[in-house]
């Protein structure tokens, strides 16, 4: 293993929580999450040599990981089995009512909304979220309110 590879593994080991959080919010099954983790690792490794340290390491990792997760979710949504798989997972696997709320709520969100949610629950400031996603701080606030409404609505329906 080269020095760069060892260095990369150390960075991943230290910041893997960030990737797992994203996988948790974007993957609908254990298989999806494992695949997404590997895909994110691949994208991080591809762009690792070009990381110049212009932004914080975690910010850069968030960008790459969210970019990958958003594209991956879009790809999976095109699969005709996506809705079927999603519904059956939430109907059978969840015994906990709260967990069912959470999963149904997350499933209602589109890829970019999941990105905002991921950053928000990781206690990122509006400024950091805006910087990572590429929208204005005001827009972050507006969108987060919209997400809250969506989630409330999903609970009401259940």
């Amino acid at each position: 293993m080269s020095d760069l590879e060892r260095d990369f593994i150390a960075v991943i080991e230290k910041n893997q929580g960030l990737i797992h959080k994203i996988c948790r919010l974007y993957g609908d099954s254990e298989e999806d999450r494992n695949d997404l983790f590997q895909e994110i690792l691949l994208q991080l490794w591809k762009s690792y040599p070009s990381y110049r340290g212009k932004s914080k390491l975690s910010t850069w990792m968030y960008r790459v990981a969210l970019y990958t997760a958003m594209a991956d979710l879009k790809k999976r949504k095109r699969n005709p089995d996506f809705d079927k798989k999603n519904t059956s997972a939430s109907n059978t696997a969840d015994q906990d009512f709260d967990l069912e709320h959470v999963k149904t709520g997350i499933a209602l969100l589109n890829p970019s909304e999941r990105a905002l949610l991921t950053l928000y629950i990781d206690d990122k400031s509006y400024q950091e979220i805006a910087e990572i996603v590429g929208i204005t701080e005001n827009n972050v606030g507006v969108r987060l309110n919209r997400i809250k409404k969506k989630l409330k609505e999903s609970i009401r329906v259940l």
């Binding site: 490794w45 969210l66 909304e113 590429g134 929208i135």
Partner: protein, 190 residues
């Protein structure tokens, strides 16, 4: 309240990999995936080089009068294809994510669109130009009548349209789903 529940759910169910597990994932999956993509492109490029070498040798073995100019044309065509491979390699292996997600998606889409435009124009133009050049060379050897020359020239239009349609179909199958996904991501972020 909802956010808190989600936060708890994400935190509670988070697996943590050991360094050895991460090394295994990296070695077995990441490096393998990357080397698979790159080796596919490498074999494509190698096939192209071999084809050019064989064609150049063939022109010399047959003893064509214009073997040098034909060989140069083949080398020129392979140089063009080499540029095509370099762009493809950069698109696949060097994502620029030093920008925000929105700007990265926009940049990827712009690069992809430019590449596809060039691909769609240059491939039929190159093939038609090669066909015309061969016809031009043959014209000096063969004694063609005016209708035959007209017919062969008109055929080049057919070749251009045919190759253009095949390239367009190829792009539609290979790249359009990716373009649509990127468009959707941008509109979601707008």
């Amino acid at each position: 309240m909802e956010f808190e529940k989600i936060k708890r759910h994400v935190e509670e169910n988070r697996p943590v990999y050991s360094k050895t597990e991460l090394e295994d994932i990296f070695t077995l999956r990441t490096k393998r995936s990357l080397s698979k993509i790159n080796s596919k492109m490498f074999w494509d490029a190698l096939f192209m080089v071999f084809s050019v070498v064989i064609l150049v040798i063939a022109t010399f073995m047959i003893g064509l009068k214009d073997r040098i100019s034909i060989s140069l044309e083949l080398v020129g065509l392979s140089a063009f294809l080499f540029v095509h491979y370099r762009i493809k390699y950069h698109l696949l292996n060097k994502p620029n994510i030093d920008l925000s997600i929105k700007n990265s998606v926009k940049r990827s889409l712009k690069t992809l669109k430019t590449y596809l435009k060039l691909y769609q124009i240059l491939i039929p133009t190159g093939v038609t130009a090669l066909y015309l050049k061969i016809q031009w060379d043959l014209w000096f050897i063969m004694d063609w009548s005016t209708p035959e020359i007209t017919l062969r020239s008109t055929f080049s239009i057919l070749i251009f349209v045919l190759i253009w349609m095949v390239t367009k179909k190829l792009i539609r199958v290979m790249y359009i789903p990716q373009t649509i996904r990127l468009h959707e991501l941008i509109s979601e972020l707008d």
